[in-house]
């Protein structure tokens, strides 16, 4: 089995993630979409690493993706919780002012 199935899967995940981010108005669901995109990218990297491109670099990069996703999720959730405390919703359309 070549690298193609992995790449196609990763493409599907990427598009799904993008669609989620675009279509949903809930901040936390958008975060879920972002996780899809990040995972698609990481999957790509690992697949290439398995199929002989870049040695261990792909896996190391995927590790960084996980780390960054963790950081991103923490900060994003903290922001959303703040947002929620102020506007009592996580609907991002309501966040149209630059102050609380």
């Amino acid at each position: 089995m070549g690298v193609t199935p992995y790449l196609i899967l990763s493409a599907i995940l990427l598009v799904l993630g993008l669609t989620i981010v675009i279509s949903k108005r809930n901040a936390i669901v958008m975060l879920i979409g972002v996780e899809f995109i990040l995972n698609a990218a990481a999957l790509n990297l690992v697949a290439f690493s398995r199929h002989g491109i870049g040695g261990l670099a792909g896996q190391t990069a995927a590790l960084f993706v996980i780390v960054i996703a963790a950081a991103e999720a923490v900060v994003a959730l903290a922001i959303f919780l703040n947002f929620y405390h102020r506007i009592a919703t996580v609907d991002i359309d309501r966040g149209d002012q630059l102050k609380g």
């Binding site: 405390h85 102020r86 009592a88 609380g100």
Partner: protein
């Protein structure tokens, strides 16, 4: 004094000023009437914000059995069994309170032996009742073992009761004019053996529970009820003494020859926190067990031979008049307000249930505390729903 390090976020709720930039999600939580730590069928409605309880409102009445109304339809003697069911953990004390009220109004003299027997059984029942309170408090705090230990010891008290009156929960032993039966053979020896046995056990409870670091952290500084608040809300019994007020009817207005006995009134001193916190109320009960042991020992020594029952007709008739009589129950002052029109049954009987008054302080104290603190507070108030709802 230790400080609770947790920083309560929504303290401002109490003043009613919620800052505009913060919106809290309040959740109404229905604690009870079927909940493991409401000690019966109490229902407490909690306004919570996360783990924080903003307000706790008790709703009572699930165990209302019209005891006061029943009293108007039955004779004085017939009402004694109903008093057993008020505070069903302290039947002897309830019997005693009612009997004393009737005797006082009817001018009935009780023989000396009966007086001492009343003291012995009232104090034994106080021990049993406090053992339940202590054990259940451990259970409320998540420690199961003290509960079983306390119930083990309580069994021996109940055995003593059973030996003398055949009942283990609803005794109707202390009746108008004295007590129902004299002691069986060898009872005094057994009672002394139990008292000797109980002493070391109190130290055991202290090691296991009272001085347990986790337990102190859970109860010290929690549910603080200062003396003025306790007085304002009419708290009595160990709740009042836990708040540092040295008040005990057995000393203040001695009945049943309590003035002949040498005992102390333990009060809360804020050893593990603030005066009037849950730990103080709890520890007062532990100390009262020891004091009761002292009283029983003295009473056993003083026990004289003689009749145990005054000459009272089967159908007790009281002269017209009214009386309010209070006794010191394990849970506080149990009061009977008795109005007689001269018949064989009261015109009106109003009962002051100490648990009811003690419970009334809950919404004041259980503000801005944690969910687990409500359990700690309820347990330390030591309510019995049979008495709250009557």
């Amino acid at each position: 004094m230790k400080e609770i390090e947790f920083q309560y976020q929504s303290d401002l709720h109490q003043e009613g000023e919620i800052p505009s930039d913060i919106r809290t999600e309040e959740l109404t939580l229905n604690m009870g009437p079927q909940h493991p730590s409401t000690h019966g069928v109490l229902r407490v409605v909690l306004q919570t914000d996360g783990e924080l309880v903003l307000q706790a409102t008790p709703y009572v009445g699930y165990l209302h059995r019209c005891a006061e109304k029943i009293a108007e339809k039955v004779t004085y003697r017939q009402f004694t069994p109903y008093t057993d069911r008020l505070d069903y953990l302290a039947g002897m004390n309830n019997n005693l309170g009612f009997a004393l009220a009737v005797e006082k109004l009817g001018g009935i003299e009780v023989p000396a032996r009966a007086e001492y027997l009343r003291v012995i059984f009232a104090e034994l029942n106080r021990i049993a009742s406090h053992l339940v309170a202590t054990g259940c408090y451990g259970l409320d705090m998540g420690a199961f073992t003290p509960f079983v230990y306390c119930f083990r010891e309580r069994e021996y008290v109940l055995d003593l009761f059973e030996a003398v009156c055949g009942a283990r929960l609803t005794y109707s032993y202390i009746t108008i004019g004295g007590v129902r039966e004299d002691l069986p053979d060898g009872w005094i020896g057994r009672c002394r053996e139990f008292l000797d046995y109980l002493g070391p056990k109190i130290a055991e409870y202290n090691n296991l529970l009272s001085y347990n670091h986790i337990f102190i952290n859970r109860t010290g500084n929690v549910g603080v009820c200062p003396p003025d608040l306790a007085l304002a809300y009419g708290l009595t019994g160990s709740c009042l003494r836990g708040s540092g007020v040295k008040w005990d009817l057995r000393k203040a207005t001695p009945y049943c020859r309590y003035n002949e006995f040498d005992f102390d009134i333990p009060v809360g001193r804020g050893e593990k926190g603030t005066v009037g916190d849950c730990w103080d109320r709890y520890f007062v009960r532990i100390q009262e067990i020891g004091q009761s042991v002292r009283i029983i020992r003295q009473a056993l020594d003083k026990l004289t031979e003689g009749p145990t029952q005054a000459k009272v007709p089967r159908a007790v008739k009281l002269p017209a008049g009214e009386i309010y009589y209070e006794v010191e129950n394990p849970r506080g002052q149990l009061g009977f307000y008795l109005v007689s029109e001269g018949g064989t049954s009261p015109y009106r009987l109003k009962i002051r249930g100490p648990s009811f008054c003690n419970l009334s302080v809950l919404p004041v104290v259980a503000r801005n505390c944690l969910l687990a603190d409500v359990t700690a507070l309820l347990g330390s108030l030591d309510i019995v729903m049979g008495e709250v709802d009557r």
